[in-house]
């Protein structure tokens, strides 16, 4: 398991007046479930993009095994080998006409042999329960199937850390449960899963650790019970204060 740490990251989008990330520091623990919470525009997706080297911080450092990421071809490939990111809309991630082909892209880019890649595709497909879909065209899949194929495309690279950016938001409860089962399998392999979500109840039930972003800052980082008891977090997430442990939104 590699160590990935974010050290005092600052980022501002070109043309924006304010920073999208402000002084964010965090180290990924091994084999944990992490829920990343925050309102729309709080900086969750920007943080996710930094973890994978898709955005380069204006100030601060992303460290891999203690070494700063240099943002050259080699170091980015190394970072992406260890940190995989899955986005919310699978349609914007699947590029190939066939499922097996799509999943094979990542491991081939890592320079693995065709035999190894075939193995990786099978393992990732088994992990995501999509073996019967391997020969299907990607455009003929349902939304939930596409999400699992997008997950398999990242898992075929065998990352130590998987970051899922709101992937469960548009799924029905059954499919969401299937995705959570995949996450459990990863955690059982001592991998870390970070899920950016708006589902507070899911975060409370599922996560070992909860991070809360607000206006580009990481305002809370701790165990769910501890984070959801914090009055600042409760007010930010508009939680009902009648029960301190509750994650039900406040009625307006």
């Amino acid at each position: 398991m590699c160590r990935v740490a974010l050290d005092r990251l600052h980022y501002r989008y070109p043309g924006a007046a304010d920073d999208a990330l402000r002084d964010v520091s965090f180290e990924f623990p091994a084999g944990q479930r992490i829920a990343l919470l925050g309102r729309n525009g709080s900086g969750k997706s920007t943080l996710v993009l930094h973890c994978n080297g898709l955005l380069r911080p204006r100030r601060g450092t992303v460290r891999l095994d203690g070494q700063p990421v240099a943002y050259d071809r080699r170091s980015l490939l190394r970072l992406r080998r260890h940190v995989g990111v899955v986005f919310q809309n699978p349609d914007e991630q699947l590029f190939s006409a066939s499922v097996a082909e799509d999943i094979s892209l990542g491991p081939l880019n890592l320079g693995l042999s065709q035999a190894e890649v075939r193995d990786r595709v099978q393992i990732a497909a088994a992990l995501c329960d999509i073996e019967p879909l391997l020969e299907r065209p990607t455009h003929a899949l349902s939304g939930g199937e596409k999400t699992r194929v997008a997950l398999a495309g990242i898992l075929a690279m065998d990352p130590d850390i998987l970051i899922a950016d709101e992937v469960t938001n548009s799924l029905d409860p059954w499919m969401r449960q299937q995705v959570l089962v995949i996450f459990e399998r990863l955690v059982a392999q001592a991998k870390t899963v970070m899920l950016a979500t708006h589902d507070l109840e899911l975060a409370r039930r599922w996560a070992d650790r909860v991070l809360v972003m607000e206006a580009g800052r990481l305002v809370a980082n701790g165990r769910p019970a501890q984070v959801f008891a914090d009055p600042l977090v409760r007010s930010l997430l508009a939680l009902d204060d009648r029960n301190a442990g509750s994650t039900h939104p406040k009625e307006s």
Partner: protein, 254 residues
């Protein structure tokens, strides 16, 4: 397009090497064009329909429907050959519309029918290929034939985006329809224009997102994927020989 794609993935020849299918198609088209006789065209048409329905196991209605559409298109195209228009009264059956004389000569009808026959024979051969070979297999074949990678990547992405944008278009249309966007011809025109404009920006946004997703997977400008695994059954050669023999026999038959 969805119909063709669906059958391309669900037929008995799906796992056959695309080189075999492309080779057979090109060979049949070459024979149909060079052995220029109506009987050859008819034999080609019959063979391709039989191969599609029996060998590939495609539903007859799908194969015939596709050919019917192409046939109608071809018939419209040869109208100009069948009907001659002029200001002078021509020889043969004529029809006068104002100062204009329209005529149909038996030679022109023969030429048009021969042309339709040849075209339909070739179209049937191409239909067999299209209905039994997904584009992904053709792209794999392109890689084996050393077609430039850039062209193949463009084909892959274009193909993928056609379906993505069709879904997006349908969602936008439904959203407009729910707000009476197509209640009057004027509104319909305006709504369609909005869709066209939004689809362009949506395409740009999606292509940016796709680029991010590809970079996550270590993409460095080339879409490397695993080649497909195919079979080369020997009976394909026998079928090719039978088709060739039949077409040559049809050409030499007096």
């Amino acid at each position: 397009m969805r119909l063709i794609d669906t059958y391309a993935y669900a037929n008995r020849l799906r796992r056959f090497d695309p080189a075999l299918k492309v080779g057979l198609t090109l060979w049949v088209i070459l024979l149909c064009l060079t052995l220029n006789r109506p009987l050859v065209s008819a034999a080609t048409l019959a063979w391709m329909l039989a191969l599609g329905m029996v060998w590939a196991g495609l539903p007859a209605r799908v194969v015939l429907k596709l050919l019917f559409v192409e046939g109608m298109f071809l018939l419209l195209g040869v109208l100009g050959i069948i009907v001659t228009a002029g200001l002078e009264p021509p020889v043969g059956p004529t029809l006068q519309i104002g100062p204009l004389w329209l005529a149909v000569s038996p030679e022109a009808v023969g030429t048009a029918l021969a042309l339709v026959g040849r075209s339909l024979g070739c179209a049937a051969a191409l239909n067999l290929l299209a209905l039994t070979t997904p584009l992904v297999d053709l792209i794999t074949l392109g890689r084996r034939l050393h077609v430039p990678e850039l062209l193949l990547d463009l084909m892959t992405l274009t193909y993928r985006f056609i379906f993505t944008l069709l879904e997006c278009l349908e969602r936008m249309r439904l959203a407009q329809e729910a707000r009476l966007g197509y209640a009057t011809p004027h509104r319909a025109l305006s709504s369609a224009a909005w869709i066209a404009a939004n689809l362009l920006t949506e395409t740009l946004r999606r292509s940016r997102q796709l680029q991010l997703a590809l970079e996550c997977r270590g993409w460095e400008g080339r879409l490397r994927v695993l080649p497909g695994e195919y079979v080369c059954p020997r009976h394909t050669g026998v079928i090719a020989l039978l088709v060739t023999g039949t077409l040559i026999a049809a050409w030499s038959w007096r």
